[in-house]
């Protein structure tokens, strides 16, 4: 018989049970399979009631983040062979309410994302027909890495501050605010600063950098947060020392 590997999956069906439980499944061990393939095998052949999100299977849609053996991972980019001979434990991302099985609730992030105004803010509004805003490759490089965020929630699952204080805007939303702050076409930095400074949470970030470490797209949210803190501090000093200056 072909080799198998054990997957221990966190199950939670709120209409049936009050607490999550672990359920073990045996799946074929195929060296080309990722954890997501194993979950799909279970869903298709063993237990159709297992629920999880997935879509692109190429690490760009951000749907399939889960906790794999204690670490937040994109399951489409996490190979079974890495955990051989197993068992492998698959749980929902931490720090979020669980809707069911491996599906977490992320409406909180959606609101936070909107609150930081992740769009180009302009005082003027030139018509597209007037041509593109010029932006050199060097100017693009200023914000490019922050634009790579796929909103997979892995950084929130790893963030100790968000775990303790759900009010914290969090790594991805701050990185995306910074993505626009650093874009040469944008004029909205002050508006975003006003939003971010309304909450203390950001000062709780201790620059341990878990968010940056776990990011599957090599975004550096911890760096964005430090940049923001620096700017906010300067802003504060400026308003204190030079109250006449236009913010």
């Amino acid at each position: 018989m072909a080799e198998t590997i054990t997957i221990e999956v966190a199950r939670y069906r709120p209409e049936q049970e009050g607490e999550p439980t672990l359920q073990s499944y045996e799946v074929p061990f195929n060296k080309d399979w990722v954890v997501l393939d194993a979950l799909n095998y279970i869903k298709d052949h063993v237990d159709g009631s297992l629920s999880f999100r997935w879509s692109c299977r190429m690490g760009v849609c951000g749907s399939c983040g889960m906790t794999v053996d204690g670490e937040p991972k994109l399951t489409c980019a996490t190979f079974l062979s890495h955990y051989h001979p197993g068992p492998i434990r698959v749980e929902p991302l931490r720090n979020f309410p669980v809707v069911r099985d491996l599906v977490i609730e992320m409406t909180d992030f959606m609101e936070k994302l909107q609150s930081v105004k992740p769009w180009i803010v302009r005082e003027d509004d030139p018509a597209p027909a007037e041509g593109e805003f010029l932006q050199t490759p060097e100017q693009l490089d200023q914000y490019k890495q922050f634009s790579m965020c796929i909103n997979c929630m892995i950084c929130y699952a790893a963030c100790p501050v968000y775990g303790l204080d759900p009010q914290f805007v969090g790594p991805a939303a701050i990185a995306l605010a910074q993505r626009y702050n650093l874009d040469s076409r944008d004029q909205g930095e002050q508006e975003r600063m006003d939003v971010l400074s309304q909450h203390e949470g950001i000062w709780g970030c201790t620059f341990v950098g878990e968010c940056t470490e776990v990011c599957p797209k090599n975004v550096d949210p911890a760096g964005a947060i430090q940049q923001y803190k620096l700017a906010a501090t300067q802003d504060w000093f400026k308003s204190f020392l030079m109250p006449w200056s236009k913010r």
């Binding site: 692109c56 849609c61 069911r100 992320m106 992740p118 805003f133 050199t136 076409r185």
Partner: protein, 594 residues
Amino acid sequence: MIDSLSTEMPSHDVLLVGGGGAGLRAAIAVSEVDPDLSVAVVSKVYPMRSHTVSAEGGSAAVIKEGDSLDEHAYDTISGGDWMCDQDAVELFVNEAPREMLQLEHWGCPWSREPDGRVAVRPFGGMKKERTWYAADKTGFHMLHALFQTSLKYRSIARYDEWFVTRLLVEDGRVQGVVAIELMTGRIQAITAKSVILCTGGCGKVFPFTTNANIKNGDGMSLAYRAGVPLKDMEFVQYHPTGLPFTGILITEASRAEGGFLLNKDGYRYLQDYDLGTPQPKPVLRSMELGPRDRLSQAFMKELDKGRTLEGPYGPYVHLDLTHLGRKIIDTKLPFVRELCLKYENIDPVSQLIPVRPVVHYMMGGVHTDIRGATPLDGLFAAGEVACVSINGANRLGSNSLTELLVFGARAGQAAAEHALQDKPLSTGIEAQAADEKKRLEREFLHKTGGTESIADLRREMQATMEKSAGIYRTGALLEEAQASVAELKERFGRVAIQDHSHTFNTELTAALELSYMLDVAEAVVECALHRTESRGAHQRIDFPQRDDERFLAHSLVSHRPGDRPKVEYLPVTITRWPPGERVYGRPATDAPRG
């Protein structure tokens, strides 16, 4: 709430099914027509998960000196083997630059020239460099720029993770949808004066595809069931370079930057298929920069000759990027390198990439006019779900992202104007919604005793489609497929549902998606069987020639409950480019001059 259809029906002016590139562009367009119009984006996934996110290579629009709208139009029309409606293509190329600049103003991080202007790259079937790109994550950046921009419009309401099961049609007008809120299982009617379908394609009808799991032809089936014809469904695009097993796309941009396709002997085999002579540097409209249909067909011919390689997941050839060097790969194709390293354990800087043709795009779709309007009053469609048609028998790479913008915006404007007519809701809508809820309960949620497995039916459907409706087709195999799909539809009536819960029931959605795909499969097979010629991506071994006498016409396939679908034809609109020979890699005799 869970067990009763809410009597309060949320109401909007314009409702979009789908929140990808076309849907979000349409939503913004509605708000621009009139910020007081209420817009609903109803999507089965969070909008930034939409499949636009996976597009890699770029988005075409004439922007550089030395290029012209006519040349973009000619490339598109000849690329589509003269099946494109030329009035649609003309307005498409004309509106493309404005839309692309608009997206630049909305923050899309386009790759740039040293002087700060937008950069363009070559692309397959395009005679000039006009493909804008954001490295090789163009769709990802376009989608996120559109989504994040959409957040600033207060009139746009979102129904994230709501799965649409039916269009509500009464008095000859569409007036809303019924949808399931996945988190709670609530079945809800949402009414609207205009509805725009923006649900994308249906690659999952086939076993080996670049398409995401969510690409099940939802909108095509919703329209088909509502009596709207689907157009040109036989034209299924195989992209020549997908990774074996996963089907992950390796972008055409890798060939635009100079990649070679090699058979097992290391030979650039495209030279044997009237695609030009090999040169060290990429030549536009030649060899590796030929159109996708011709390249995928060339692979099949190499396979017949025994000149492909054989791996655990079937035959493949090699894509060679090694001569480009690490710097070009890291700056222009970083995602290609990341995908190869992560998913194939191959570094394209020093190793050859195994690739094979993979189902990628549906040229056909819901029949619309150039405003995005379908024949059903109040129903519009845009993006891959729609067929305007600008893509004809074969879409050129980098036209589809632009299509999302141009026709998303047009459909949004037309739907907004339609909504402003302010027709009242018909009285029968509520009863129709209640019937749909009963159907969902009877056929799925409360159903017991089913015997057929969703996964088995899906696998059989996919195998049938690959065998009969793949790159090369025959009447005999298509007739077999016709019977197989009909049988699968019948077996679907006995599908087993183990999960009867309301909370995030993905077995229910998988069953509904399968039922959509079976409709699409039926339409593809029917159209492919009826088109007894070969054109673009539709190649009939038993009818190898293009037949302009009989088939310079769009297929329109209509659903007939309990009977075979009906296929009719609509002449292609020709304005300035009479049908000619498709020529790649050598001078064309009928190409536009000057």
